[in-house]
């Protein structure tokens, strides 16, 4: 039998190389297995700036931990947890309250307790949900972001979104994003004239009012950064439902944008943090959450992201606009109906 060769590569050498490559491939899971000082955090894409600038260095300094972030939408984080239920790779997830409710219902979270997370005792009582299944860590406020070059008078009320002069000058978030709910609920309030506490359940009226908004909507978004860039460039003049942790830092950097608190009210963004059930490195995960709720990091994150801290010992962060109501919706109602609303919204807004 002749030895088959390809330009000097013998069959034996080829087999040997293949065997080593195969062994390397099989060993890869253990090579890639997370180290003891490393955890993966799911968070919002819009949080990446302060997660990298503030949180990661703090965790390295205090816990000696390497933090890997996966910034995306809350609903995508939920799907990641659900899809990897049997072998979670996320240890902690930071996402919005309505999605937290679904995660609890699907048994994806494990509660934080003051024994595991001592800084919980300093939180506002309303920042701890469902017996510690998740906590709000900071809360930005949401209104209407606008380009100050084109709208020097700001956005005095939410009706400005429906004004004829706003034709194709407005972008609104889709309902896949939690901030998309603000335009929906405000549409219900404007359509019915009822107080927000009642109007939030008038969803048919809200969608009818949103239909009237279509001529003004240039597009809807699920990735906010591109929409915000269009606002900064003056392609649009208003970005509905935007929040202080994104708009105000850009304003501070000298970009011609601001965040309006219209007369009908603003909304509290429901930013939560939770421990993933069965997630890797549970002790480090609990320590991470404890640091996130501690006074030092609370002050730093609140200051960086123009948000309201949840820790009552911290005096820093955003100044809440005065003289306008702050609305907090019924998140259980939202999470129960969200998929239907997303479907209805997409069909309504289709060009």
């Amino acid at each position: 039998m002749t030895e088959t060769t390809i330009k000097g590569v013998t069959r034996r050498r080829l087999l040997k190389t293949t065997a080593f490559a195969g062994a390397g491939l099989l060993a890869a899971p253990s090579i890639l297995r997370a180290a003891d000082n490393e955890i993966v955090i799911g968070c919002a894409g819009s949080h990446t700036a302060w997660m990298e600038a503030v949180v990661a260095p703090h965790m390295k300094a205090t816990l000696g931990a390497d933090i890997l972030f996966e910034g995306t939408k809350s609903t995508v984080n939920l799907e990641k947890m659900a899809s990897n239920r049997d072998a979670p790779y996320l240890s902690v997830v930071q996402m919005d309250d309505p999605v937290m409710i679904i995660a609890v219902e699907e048994g994806l979270l494990t509660p934080a307790t003051p024994e595991l997370v001592p800084n919980m005792v300093d939180l506002r009582p309303d920042a701890v949900h469902m017996d510690g299944m998740w906590c709000n860590y900071v809360q930005p406020w949401a209104g209407v972001a606008y380009n100050t070059d084109f709208l020097p008078g700001g956005v005095p009320n939410w009706n400005a979104l429906w004004a004829p002069e706003a034709k194709e000058k407005l972008i609104i978030p889709g309902l896949r994003n939690t901030e998309g709910m603000w335009t929906l609920f405000m549409a219900a309030h404007l359509a019915t004239g009822k107080p927000m506490a009642e109007a939030q359940y008038e969803i048919d009226a809200a969608f009818d009012k949103l239909a009237q908004l279509k001529p003004n909507v240039l597009t809807t978004y699920s990735v906010m950064s591109q929409a915000f860039n269009l606002l900064e460039q003056g392609e649009i003049t208003m970005l509905s439902g935007n929040f202080s942790s994104y708009a105000l830092p850009r304003k501070a950097q000298g970009v011609p944008v601001d965040l309006a608190a219209p007369a009908e009210g603003i909304f509290a963004m429901p930013s939560g943090i939770c421990l993933v059930k069965g997630g890797p490195n549970p002790e480090l995960a609990a320590a991470y959450v404890n640091e996130m709720l501690g006074p030092e990091l609370q002050a730093a994150v609140a200051e960086f992201s123009a948000s309201v801290p949840a820790n009552t010992t911290v005096k820093a962060g955003a100044i809440i606009p005065e003289g306008v109501p702050i609305h907090a919706p019924d998140w259980a109602f939202v999470s129960k109906n969200r998929a239907d609303w997303i479907d209805r919204f997409d069909k309504l807004m289709a060009a």
Partner: protein, 277 residues
């Protein structure tokens, strides 16, 4: 086992890889789409999909955009490939580099660049206004036209290279022979050059159409969510509606389109070449 069969075994790792990471997941998706609520075999998910006018609209838009993108790419690619096949030396190198280099730039970067160009204060509106073609900026961003132009640009190399590969094998003696027999330039092109390069056109069109029909990032950035495509519907189903069966059904429909493109192009190529390899 004879030598030829032993050599054929070299394809085994690749085939196993494709079977495990491509064929098996696709089979699982297909199975998921063919079940009803009780788990029995059913076409209910497909009936439901096609009963919804929104879904039909998205399917039609996806096919229309893919077809128009392919046509525009072909219109741009054919002369480019012709020039490339005729060029020599540095000119050929320059055209090749211009074709291949953009492939190293991520599709997100290219799509985002187009979204900047299409803005009201972007370079295209600026140029048109500067030339006096328009008085005020026209809206291009978030339009289907913008998507087709952007996609054709991104996929252009996939149309040019197959056509070029065929053209460079075309003997220059053939059009010359036609010329000596009195054929004019148009006759030579339509009766000699074009028919002989059709296999490249078919391959390029199949590539470009397949890429266009399944693109996700480009429409997401250029037309947004008010003009969804099938790929965007798949992501929406799995990630936001959490409706795996709907996602699997749309994935299967997209797969069927891809299979139809492959089979159709193979059939067409066989007809054009008369079965020659």
């Amino acid at each position: 086992m004879n030598a030829e069969n032993r050599i054929a075994l070299l394809a085994a790792p690749g085939l196993l890889y494709l079977a495990a990471l491509y064929a098996l997941p696709l089979a699982l998706l297909l199975t998921e789409s063919l079940r009803d609520a009780e788990g029995a075999l059913s076409l209910a998910a497909y009936v439901e999909f096609f009963a919804d006018p929104f879904n039909r609209g998205v399917l039609w838009r996806t096919l229309r955009v893919a077809a128009l993108t392919t046509l525009l790419a072909l219109a741009l690619a054919y002369p480019t490939a012709l020039a490339l096949s005729r060029a020599r030396g540095w000119a050929q190198t320059a055209i090749l580099v211009a074709m291949v280099l953009p492939l190293s730039v991520g599709v997100i970067v290219k799509a985002f660049a187009w979204s900047i160009l299409f803005r009201a204060n972007g370079a295209i509106n600026g140029a048109l206004m500067g030339l006096g073609v328009i008085d005020a900026p026209i809206r291009m961003l978030f339009t289907e036209t913008a998507l087709i132009i952007g996609a054709a640009n991104v996929f252009l190399p996939f149309m040019v290279l197959p056509i070029y590969a065929v053209m460079r094998q075309l003997s220059p003696a053939l059009p010359e022979a036609a010329a000596t027999l009195g054929a004019g330039p148009f006759f030579r092109f339509f009766r000699v050059t074009l028919p002989l390069t059709l296999p490249g056109v078919i391959a390029g069109a199949a590539f470009t159409f397949s890429l266009s029909v399944s693109m996700y990032v480009i429409p997401s950035l250029i037309v947004g969510e008010r003009q969804q495509t099938l790929s965007m519907l798949i992501a929406r189903s799995f990630l936001f509606l959490r409706d795996e069966q709907l996602g699997a059904t749309i994935s299967a429909i997209l797969l069927l389109i891809a299979i139809a493109v492959v089979l159709g192009s193979s059939w067409l190529a066989a007809r054009v070449t008369g079965g020659r390899p």
